[in-house]
């Protein structure tokens, strides 16, 4: 069986700045992969390359054995890739429910329909409510997004990605900026995601992240420095070097 995500020799530069340098990565179906690394290591850039937000300079990306290196990011969404953003990227003028409905609409043929009322689409509203319930926000379904807290928005990011029923889910610092209580909730939520979803997660909070991860990839200056199981990566001297500074 082919890997959920297989990356070969991926590179990306911004001007003279080489942000991704020959990254290889193979993530098995159902795996929980943690990506760590200091600020500016190129973690988010790697996600942007995987989702197609950025074009690769060279290298190859395979999604369940299918070459998607040149596929535009909307196609990757339709193939079953969903992500959350490190910098919250939601629709501030819409309600929570409509935010999640928009996420569902993106994969539905109904999105081209100019004649029916969006609000009446129970085929979207019902699963959207379920997704909100999964992140514990269904009681705020009709609140405009602009009136929600930061922690709630982080969870809506996750709800929107989950609503699409992805095969591979990329979470970019899902715990950033959350209170201890909110962290616990989101932690539980991520643990509860069934194993038919493969998860790649960038996270700085090691207590939570290490608990979730099956394997860990350590990025530094755009390169994979260490990769292995939890124990392997934690014990590796290079990990200490990267984090404590040479």
């Amino acid at each position: 069986m082919s890997a959920a995500l297989a990356i070969h020799g991926l590179t990306k530069s911004f001007g003279g700045l080489r942000v991704t340098r020959g990254v290889n990565l193979a993530v098995e179906p159902g795996e929980r992969r943690l990506i760590i690394g200091p600020n500016g290591a190129g973690k988010t850039t790697l996600f942007n390359l995987i989702t197609g937000d950025l074009r690769t300079d060279s290298g190859r990306i395979e999604f369940f054995g299918r070459n998607i290196t040149r596929a535009p990011n909307r196609h990757r969404a339709h193939l079953g890739m969903a992500r959350t953003f490190q910098i919250i990227t939601l629709f501030p003028r819409e309600t929570l429910l409509r935010n999640v409905m928009l996420s569902l609409l993106g994969l539905s043929k109904l999105r081209w329909n100019p004649f029916i009322r969006f609000d009446r689409l129970t085929v979207l509203a019902e699963p959207a409510r379920d997704a909100l319930a999964r992140v514990g926000l269904d009681h705020l379904a009709h609140r405009p997004l602009s009136e929600t807290s930061y922690g709630e928005r982080r969870r809506i990011e996750i709800a929107m990605a989950l609503a699409q029923n992805p095969r591979v889910l990329l979470l970019d610092e899902p715990l950033a900026g959350l209170s201890a209580d909110e962290r616990r909730d989101v932690h539980r939520l991520i643990v509860s995601i069934p194993r038919d979803v493969t998860i790649l997660m960038i996270e700085h909070d090691m207590d939570v992240a290490l608990e979730i991860a099956d394997r860990i990839t350590l990025l530094h200056f755009g390169e994979v420095v260490v990769e292995g199981t939890r124990a392997e990566v934690v014990q590796d001297p290079r990990t200490r070097e990267v984090y404590l500074g040479e």
Partner: protein
């Protein structure tokens, strides 16, 4: 939309629905009886003009308001419909075919405009659309054998749909009213449809939309063509209203006028472009009869709108009205959730 959030009790919702239906009924009755209560045909003609420009502005609002793409080339789409119809009618083509060709060419032109301008957004989009509009204006000026150059093209007949002559001001008014109502209804449905919501999504979070699986470019392209269709309809009506076409219809001034209508009335609202069109046309034709410097007055009004109601007349008035009501404390039955939907 904001109203719906503000009124959260079912009773209040019912009340607001019936008041709104009542208001709608009154407005419709007033519109239908214009030729009866409006004193003379000069003013009936002004009402026709308002409706034509309102249609034009509603079409532009698809781009400016709902797609977040500020176009200064809308006159190109409007004008090409005017010229196509004028030229074809002047060489003896039947009105029906000429009208179809005019609207068809406006749509084709909007597709070309869209392909060239949708590489960008923001100020570059504005500059490209402006340049495209200017090119068409230049062609109309120079291609004298077809367009008549500065002299333009005049015709002496209006169409007779279903055997009804549109020669009189009131007959023509009714034709513009029907088209206006159809366009308003279409916009009303469109804005809250999945496609309309998607279009607004591309305005607010284009990157997120792409990540969610939407084809942002195609959504904008289709919206541009829809806008072009409506501009074409408005252009065709404008030509038949004037029975004359000159390069003015393709000028930057026309693009700017319709854009001002949208902005002063309120972008991304259904009523805004209509109110904006009424404001500008009334200033131009009614106030100008009393005040020579009506241009200055209009300018002052625009400045006042931008200073005091930057969101436009319609959303601005709603905001003021709500604030007033809250201060008087005269809304105990309505549970008002603090809503700032446009932030």
């Amino acid at each position: 939309m904001s109203l719906r959030h503000a009124l959260s009790t079912p009773d209040a919702e019912k009340a607001s629905l019936s008041t709104r239906l009542l208001a709608l009924g009154i407005v419709l009755a007033l519109l239908v009886t214009v030729p009866i209560w409006v004193p003379n045909s000069y003013y009936v003609n002004i009402c026709s003009q308002i409706l034509i420009w309102a249609v034009f502005a509603l079409g532009l609002n698809i781009l400016v308001g709902y797609a977040g793409l500020v176009s200064l080339g809308q006159s190109g789409l409007f004008g090409i419909a005017c010229y196509t119809a004028a030229y074809l009618v002047s060489i003896g083509t039947p009105h029906f075919e000429a009208g179809l060709a005019a609207i068809g060419l406006a749509i084709v032109t909007s597709a070309v405009f869209a392909v060239l301008s949708l590489r960008t957004t923001g100020i570059s989009f504005l500059m490209i659309t402006l340049a495209l509009g200017e090119i068409l204006w230049g062609i109309a000026y120079r291609w004298v054998s077809v367009t008549g150059g500065d002299n333009g093209i005049s015709v002496n007949t209006r169409p007779t749909p279903f055997g009804i002559s549109l020669a009189s001001p009131s007959a023509f008014y009714y034709s513009t009213l029907i088209i206006f109502l159809v366009v308003v209804a279409a916009m009303y449905v469109f804005v809250e449809s999945p496609f309309g919501i998607s279009l607004r999504g591309t305005r607010d979070q284009a990157r997120r939309m792409t990540t969610l699986g939407y084809n942002v470019w195609l959504i904008r392209f289709l919206a541009f063509m829809f806008s072009g269709l409506i501009a074409g309809v408005a252009g065709l009506q404008f030509f038949y209203y004037e029975k004359f076409v000159s390069p003015y219809v393709l000028s930057l001034s026309t693009s700017a006028t319709v854009l001002l209508m949208v902005i002063s009335g309120g972008v991304a609202t259904l009523l805004g472009p209509i109110v904006g069109a009424a404001l500008v046309i009334v200033m131009q034709y009614v106030v100008s009869a009393y005040i020579q410097q009506w241009n200055l007055v209009l300018g002052a009004i625009f400045v006042a709108i931008i200073l005091f109601m930057p969101e436009g007349l319609v959303p601005g008035s709603l905001r003021l009205w709500r604030a007033l009501r809250r201060r008087r404390g005269s809304a105990p039955a309505v549970v008002t959730v603090p809503v700032e939907p446009e932030s």
